[in-house]
Symmetry: C2
Subunit: 250 residues, 2 copies
């Protein structure tokens, strides 16, 4: 059985997230169905990140054990021909038998897009959070910097996920203001992310930008002194899984 | 009756075009329905450009005679609250009683977006034509320049539209290559456009870029010597009505 890694991109608008579940459309289900047709047997994929309902990906990855070999350069087109147009495989790569797309991920990048136009930009509406209010970007960037480094992000997760170790390292939380497009894109690069962590931190950054959350409160929440700085959870549509790094390609 | 002009933006994906028709969803119908609720009577709008099924607009305009007055700054939000999320009114302006959104238009800008990535960019798929083939951009820009100026564009329309005068002036046909986004955006600025003219010219430009159409053939078609340079009609999804100019605001 050859172990293969896929690069998967998708528009998550009409899916109940990546991970397979009963009675709801998921990315995993659609990809496994396509692979099942190609390999003429049940194929299970392991995704690197379990994106939520409505969340997008330009750089999801997943691996699977293939019952027989198909050339790497032929596989994406073969799978795409069997997928709906809102899921597109953009690459395939042979990996070692032990490789695990989730456990072996070293670094991930998420982006969060805020539409700052007075009225929603209609062609961006599925891929952004419309927030016409005035934001203090300097203050937001100062708040963003507080999240960089290794912290216990316990306050910045939706509980009940059962994760015991809530320490994570964020290498970079960066604001990219694009006035010409009336967009603000926040990039999060980290060793790993807790459940809803990016959307909760984005909610905190927006509150800071609106002058409704001060930096001291964020510092306290990162020290575990309270959870008042977390959130609210920003809408799923603005979030996109951009990239996942492994040792093998970096 | 006060004459009011609306700025209308829409994602045309799920509409059968701007202009109202029986048994098919249209932008005009949706906007008239919303206005009808606000004004408690039938309201008819006159659109500046009749975009086709699947074509988008960031800068459509329409005027209508309102039975009573609503402040210009309040009107967009009131209408938007009654519209589906893929149609957004971004402005309203009182205009003179004789103003006609279509007849008084002096200049229009359309954009056509080509996705040049090897695989379709999934978050751009509804707003572009995916064309992974190698394009000679220099040759395409040369071809584009041939269309600039005043010409008889008879060959570059879908016939049967009943228009008698097929002379139009294109002030600008310009390629904007965005390698970072893997997009090629072609802008068309003109005095007016024939039915399917932008999509047919785009088809010609792409054929030129693929080396399948030479500049002489385009020159001949613009002189009315043949129609062989026209098209094929490029897909609707790539087209967007960007802006309409009137004397009143320019």
């Amino acid at each position: 059985m050859e172990n293969t890694m896929l690069d998967i991109t998708y528009d998550g608008t009409y899916y109940s997230g990546f991970q397979i579940q009963e009675n709801a459309p998921t990315i995993q289900e659609a990809v496994e169905k396509a692979l099942g047709i190609i390999y003429k047997q049940t194929v299970r994929i392991t995704g690197a990140g379990r994106t939520d309902a409505g969340v997008h990906a330009r750089g999801q990855r997943a691996n699977f054990k293939a019952p027989f070999s198909i050339p790497e350069d032929k596989l994406p087109s073969a799978v795409n021909a069997l997928l709906p147009p809102d899921i597109v495989i953009t690459g395939a790569e042979r990996v070692s038998g032990e490789f695990h797309a989730r456990y072996d991920a070293k670094r991930k990048i998420y982006s969060y897009t805020i539409d700052r136009a007075a009225f929603p930009q209609v062609l961006k509406r599925l891929y952004s959070w419309h927030l016409p209010d005035r934001l203090d970007l300097d203050l937001m960037q100062k708040a963003a910097s507080l999240f960089e480094g290794t912290h216990d992000f316990k306050a910045f997760q939706v509980s009940g996920s059962g994760v015991l170790d809530t320490a994570r390292t964020l290498f970079r939380v960066e604001l990219d203001n694009r006035p010409h497009e009336q967009l603000l894109v926040i990039s999060f690069e980290g060793s790993g992310f807790l459940y809803r962590m990016v959307r909760l931190i984005t909610g905190s950054l927006v509150r800071a930008g609106l002058g409704r959350l001060n930096l001291e409160e964020i510092r306290a929440s990162l020290k575990g002194e309270n959870t008042s700085a977390a959130g609210p959870t920003s809408p799923a549509a603005g979030l996109c899984l951009e990239k996942i790094y492994y040792d093998l390609n970096q």
